[in-house]
Amino acid sequence: MSSAHGQGPKAPHAFFQHHYNTVEQQAGAAKLGMWVFLATEILMFSGLFLAYFIIRILYPEMVLGSHELLSKTMGGVNTVVLLFSSFTMAMAVRSAQVGDTPGIIRNLIMTIGCACIFMVVKYFEYTGKFAHGIFPGKYFDYGRAAAYAAEHGHELVGMPHIFFGIYFTMTGLHGVHVAVGIGVLVWIMLRAKKGHFGPQYYSPVENVGLYWHIVDLVWIFLFPLLYLVK
């Protein structure tokens, strides 16, 4: 990159690992590693998406009937929250690039805040479902769920436990990723407070950012598929 900015090669920083030859090599390896890791994340989620599509093909009416029980508003709020957190994350990386440490911290705190809001909304969504007997798989209580659906003017068709099984699995795995994301965001925020990051070295911020964006990307697909599509 150095050539792109017309500066000389970067000087080794405090976090330079000796098995690398140059700072750029270390940063490049970290970033490529992250992208390859993201590829595995996408493929892992793709299994659940495929399961979802297969279920949709096998039981179209059941999926359409069941998805009415999900709250579009809560899903929509979460979508907006996650998109905004992606924005603040990108801003945190930018702050690191230009050496604005308070900016990194401010943006990371906003990102973490959004992630927490997301989890809180998820908590209310889940407990709201559980309260009406909507559990995954064999714990699904057809009677209470059907009564709940009837209250809201919908009708359960076929075997809704499958839809909610996949719903809880997909959003659950995504939720786990958000929780892990909160953990690593807090970690880099603490490091940012110690002043570890600047234009010379910001790989961790950038890579956590990439991870966070992929969590957002997955939700971009989950939201319409589970909550919206008719």
Binding site: E24, L38, F87, V229
Partner: protein, 167 residues
């Protein structure tokens, strides 16, 4: 032998180890606003009755949003092209993974329709029954409650698990 310095298989003066690109804040803001607009669009469309097209519309919008995030927030637009290659080839392999099972499912449906399957029969049927007879793990009262409530909720009346037709 040349006197050129090589690093990682390339002459050192050409080597690009790590792209850095600082995007302006205004770009990020524009991307965020577009994402919000697209989200609003899917949300609005979900209330319109588009039939089978709604899945396609939703997916196209989602792909648009994903592209925005990947290109600008994730810097793919300015990044080492190999990273984009990794990302795109992942999508291609996901497509392969999706293609064959869905193709299989669609092209074997013919036989199922001829014969009538457990699937089709069970769909309107009593999955709780199937669950009890096969697993016997759910508490008895939960099942009883489900059974009773189901009748009340007027679940399809022909809710009998139908065994394969026997002569």
């Amino acid at each position: 032998m040349t006197t050129k310095t090589f690093l990682h298989g390339k002459p050192i003066d050409d080597v690009i180890e790590c792209h850095e690109h600082v995007s302006p804040v205004s770009l990020y803001v524009k991307v965020l606003l577009s994402l919000f607009v697209l989200t609003g669009l899917t949300y609005a469309v979900s209330f319109a009755d588009l039939g089978p097209a709604s899945l396609w519309v939703a997916m196209i919008v989602a792909f648009g949003k994903a592209t925005l995030v990947a290109m600008f927030f994730m810097h793919l637009k300015y990044d080492d092209r190999y990273h984009g290659f990794v990302f795109l080839s992942t999508i291609i392999f996901v497509a392969i993974f999706f293609l064959f099972p869905i193709f299989d499912l669609n092209s074997r449906a013919r036989l199922n329709e001829e014969q009538g399957t457990f699937f089709r029969v069970n769909q309107a049927g009593d999955w709780n029954e199937a669950q009890r007879t096969n697993k016997g793990q759910v508490e008895a009262e939960a099942k009883a409650a489900a059974e009773a409530a189901k009748d009340a909720a007027k679940a399809p009346a022909d809710a009998k698990a139908v065994a394969p037709a026997k002569p």
